[in-house]
Amino acid sequence: MAPSEAELVERARRGDHAAYGDLVRLHEDVAFRTAYVICGSAADAEDAAQEALVRAYAALGRFRPGAPFRPWLLAIVANEARNRRRGAGRRAALALRATEQAAAVPDGGATPSVEADVLAHDERATLLHAVEGLREEDRLVIACRYLLDLGEAETAAVLGLPQGTVKSRLSRALGRLRERLEVAPA
């Protein structure tokens, strides 16, 4: 049976590099993507995530056993990504794109027509453009909650905010996104 995350953390705290490698494998996708939405560049995100993961290993002694590991790790990744972006002295753009492929059709669902598919694609592109046009704090909170599918506690850890503030900031960001969509050309 595969060891649990808590077991991997405990082994990594005792200096087991392989256990820490397994732990990283569990979270490398979300760690890299978190760094990417902050840095806006895949190369910077890779550097930031890797550096953060090495730092997190060194900081494992300060990790409280039994606490959720992912928010703790993502906070370190986000911090490193912010430092890197500041060092680069530029504003990060999301630079994301929606895949050309339509989302999978749910079981039992009708296959969408080509026209419907094209319309859906256009709508997604418009929405993505509107998200990218938001100011950074709005963009990041939406990216965390929706694009990275992070929970409130994880979003709070990534953004370095109290959990309650995440809720209000998200609400305001969605309001501004709606305004942008209302004035966006059809």
């Binding site: 993961l53 492929q101 998200v131 694009l147 709606r178």
Partner: protein, 251 residues
Amino acid sequence: MTPDLDRALRELATVIDFPPTPDLATAVERRLAHPPAVRAWWPRWRTAVLVAALVLVLAAVAGAAAARFWDDVPGFTIERVELQPPVPAGAGLRLGREVSAAEAAARVGAPTPLPADGRLGTPDALYLASGGNGPRVSAVWRPRSGFPPLLRRDVGAILTVLPGGTVRGDAANKLLSMETDVELVDVGDGAAYWLSGAPHTVIFTRADGEIAVEDVRLAGNVLLWQQDGRVLRLEADVELATALEIARSVR
């Protein structure tokens, strides 16, 4: 918030095309296994100056006394720093996890086909990545005679073996509208293409065998062919004739 916007954002999340996640775990494990030497608080050039000054002082006193003096200098040590472990060829190209030939063969179920042509020789590193159709193996050679570095990286050639799939001519033709030259060539047991030109257009084959254009990797010339039910992709900054000779020697 309106349910529509919430739903639209959730749907957007399902189709967002994030860059592929690099193999961070292997890189981190390697760094933990070989931590860099700790930088001294005292810059090395100052140490060198101090050493030189001390040598001059020492030269002025008797040898035996100098030796005693040297032994007695408090807090003065000469640090021996080990060389950093060599970085494997192709590291950082997101080719997957570095593996041994045995592990690659075990995962794929057959030895990795490699060129018998002596100009490349044994690969400097093998990488394994998961693909939609199964594991993909990439063999990487460092630059060598006739195989210059690709985009100033420490890589002279990459041979990627994709499981199954076919090279489709109609997909390749789409590339003609871009600044990439596509030439039908004769190698392997199916359609084969030589893709050259456009230094910043990179061609790859999807797991289903179709040709597609992706982010810049190394931007060398690419030979794409089929052999024994697999798709092979050779990338190197070489002429077509050389690429064909290498490809035809692959066993």
